[in-house]
Symmetry: C4
Subunit: 281 residues, 4 copies
């Protein structure tokens, strides 16, 4: 059962901040002993409370938008250590609180697990953080309208400026190339490295027969790109369904969208989404 504090009642923002910071500190402290016992190094310290708040909000925002259901996850690089990241224990994203966040190193070893179960695909996050120092947040999901583009010979392209981050297209990760016939899960370091390699310098990588991994320089960027990737997919599906010729954003236009601030840094939706997500806690 998820923690009692997120049931029913409604806490205001200051309480939340105070609560999560304290709770996280406690979790980290409590977690140090078992972590050492497992042979991992110590915690990088208590993360910034704003980072924790944003990561909790990110989990709930993605669930509210149907980008994740009980599966899928979102992580953030630790603000005190570039070789650490924060990711929930194995739990449906819409139930995640700051208490559920686990600190990981870049080999996907947990620092403060304290006996809780883990996402088997944490290697997606670890290997992307290792390969891409510019990335501060990673989303993995089974975004329903994005999946068709990972299994079809028809490539995803940006149909409107909100999806300028697609640029000239997105790479597709074929897990068979690195691991042959599998259960499709990126559940070890080798598969994670293959995925990170396929991602390259892109903003997202489609995963054939599975879903997508999306990255960003902040949590809002990774979350907003995940949401608008789904919207763009639906619009592109409809545009193709009309049967005529489709004019996509020119790669030059897509580049200018990014250069001019990429939708003003998604500040406006982030304010709206976060407000809405925290309201339910």
């Amino acid at each position: 059962m998820p923690p009692r504090r997120s049931e029913g009642s409604h806490c205001d923002r200051r309480q939340f901040l105070a609560g999560t910071a304290a709770a996280a500190a406690l979790t980290v402290l409590q977690g140090l002993q078992p972590a050492r016992a497992q042979g991992t190094v110590g915690s990088a310290g208590v993360p910034d409370s704003r980072l924790l708040e944003d990561l909790v909000a990110a989990n709930r925002i993605l669930a509210k938008h149907g980008i994740v259901d009980a599966y899928g996850h979102v992580s953030a690089r630790h603000d005190k250590a570039a070789d650490r990241f924060l990711l929930s224990r194995s739990l449906a994203p819409e139930l995640v609180t700051a208490d559920d966040l686990v600190e990981y190193d870049l080999d996907a070893n947990p620092i403060n697990l304290a006996g809780r179960s883990q996402y088997s695909e944490r290697y997606i996050h670890a290997e992307i953080y290792r390969a891409r120092p510019d990335v501060q947040a990673v989303v993995h999901d089974h975004s329903p309208s994005v999946i068709p583009f990972g299994v079809s010979s028809v490539p995803m392209r940006p149909v409107y400026h909100m999806a300028g981050f697609i640029g000239a297209g997105l790479p597709v990760f074929e897990i068979r190339d690195v691991a042959g016939m599998t259960d499709m899960l990126v559940s070890d370091a080798m598969r994670g490295r293959g995925l990170a390699r396929a991602l390259g310098q892109s903003t997202a990588v489609l995963m054939r027969g599975h879903g997508v991994a999306v990255v960003g320089a902040t949590i809002p960027f990774a979350v907003a790109r995940s949401i608008y990737l789904e919207v763009n997919a639906r619009i592109q599906l409809e545009a193709i369904g009309l049967g005529g010729e489709v004019r996509y954003l020119d790669p030059e236009e897509a580049k200018k969208v990014l250069e001019s601030g990429e939708n003003r840094g998604y500040e406006r939706p982030w304010e709206l989404w976060k407000r809405d997500a925290l309201k339910d806690m």
Copy 2:
């Protein structure tokens, strides 16, 4: 009118457990006399309270996901007797409480009906339980995006790992083969046997011009497969709509998904869905 207890108020989980176990015991006891009068044998006893809770939750979860509306039903094999199963009286699934569950034998005879009306298609459940000792739960529904695959020459295939249980494809039950021109309902034993035969060893069988029957080794498996079958259908429809070539899961990949635990036994969504379903009671 549905029972007053499910209106408005909000009961916590312990109350629910206590309430349903007691209520079910009462129902069973009350039901024994009329059942005997109808010439059926006595009850196999009070089912496990967790099973009852899961079956009530299953009814509500399927309704919340749009897999059933007022039609469709879900059953579970009795935990005390392999030749008995539990299925609601004729009622819209989202209104079902433990009090509404009726015990049936494998000829679809009710043990404790007490004058209540029945689902006319209870034979779907009875004949599948008879033919498939491994099955502990059965869902029948009119899942909207699944129906096209039951009437089209284009077969359903797994587009992503969440639907690995589709394997190399699903059988389609053509009711004309066993009963000629009908009202399409599996409302007698002969039709039920035809459906069970078409199902064979699969996880689900599409019913032409009607819907689908989905099975599982537990209630969560049958429910989760019903939900992800609908999701897979929507994604496959979109993938085909793109007009290119589609790469489905290889049967070997699908097999490995099942062998590796089939989405971790759907534990994560079940926790989320059940919590959400019981909240409304």
Copy 3:
């Protein structure tokens, strides 16, 4: 502004019944004078309270299912006089209460309008009641997935048993045939008669570039058919979108669906929908 009584508060079913019967009686009494002044005959009397309750529920159910938005309407033949019917004043269906129902004769003249504004397309209802003595309820709506079948050369066909009432297909009313170039509205008796003629003995008639009119022997039949017509349309669209061959219900199968009670008279959904609709009043 809609009447204050439907705002915020929550009334139980007995109150509702008492309230609507009283209110309707009052409305009818108050309405007699202006009606006579307009040269129409007197009221046929206070309708059965159950009929009023069902008609109010029907308005709200259709809105909740997205079958009507602010446009569209539903009527019922008066239980005390076959040449009268009840239809709301001009108002969005989800706001309709028993106080808003107006009594009409079969020329679409209001009996108790009392200065309120009317639906300009009340002729749809009047002319269908005149032409079809078996019809007790009529729905007119702009059901979004049904409209394509009224403008396309591809005919609507039943893809599953819930839409058996479609039979071998539905007629399409081309308003140009009776009135040339128009504003598309069935806003006079001539257009209404043309529509009723096109309907013939069918359960529904598609209106090219406009919507649909659906009939039933009771309010639940007309409402449920309207809802399942939309569902069937979506499923047929998807089945066609797969690109293969589609096997529709055989007309003989559709006939047997009707003969065997047409989805058990829609009793199960009606109980669910009505309960849900009245909860919000």
Copy 4:
């Protein structure tokens, strides 16, 4: 953070009117100093309280219908000065209150900004008001099913009478024609003038790879047309998806829809939508 007054509590309509009129007056007064300091002329005065109420409602209605998300905006011409218009500060539409409305001149200069951030695409509104004296309200959005028609060679056409305002079709604004390779935003006067030129005398102009701008003689007209444009787009997509021949409204029929009052001036939906939007404030 959005202002506290819109959180949680529920204010009745009179309070809202009083509150917004007072607040707006205050905002205007407070804003005069900074406005002058920026070299703009003084305010045209306090707008009519009904206009403010409708504009706030319009923001929320468009959000509730999914026509805008955090992006997109709606404005109204000032009732006291034809060369002024009212538009929210940079804020997600569903959060907009009367306090957030800024007065602009037709060069898109703010009169009472008071340091708040602005929508970068306010030039869409300014240049349309300049070019079209008949227009009193403008909506700009990324309506998801409308976007395909802005990028496809297949033109949008009215499939039903609710979209008669589409007439014989809608113009498409290609930003490359006026500004070459850009970030796609109409963020200066030149681009705004190009858009207004493309709009011509139409009711809306599609923006390639971006969205749409819709106009009206009142706020309800602009809002309702925005909503029914999306509905028409979805219906047309489905009608085309059926693969047969599609019969659209004849331009003469579309013209008659407008001449006969264009869906009765959208009075019925406006009453419903506004009531619903203000309920949440």
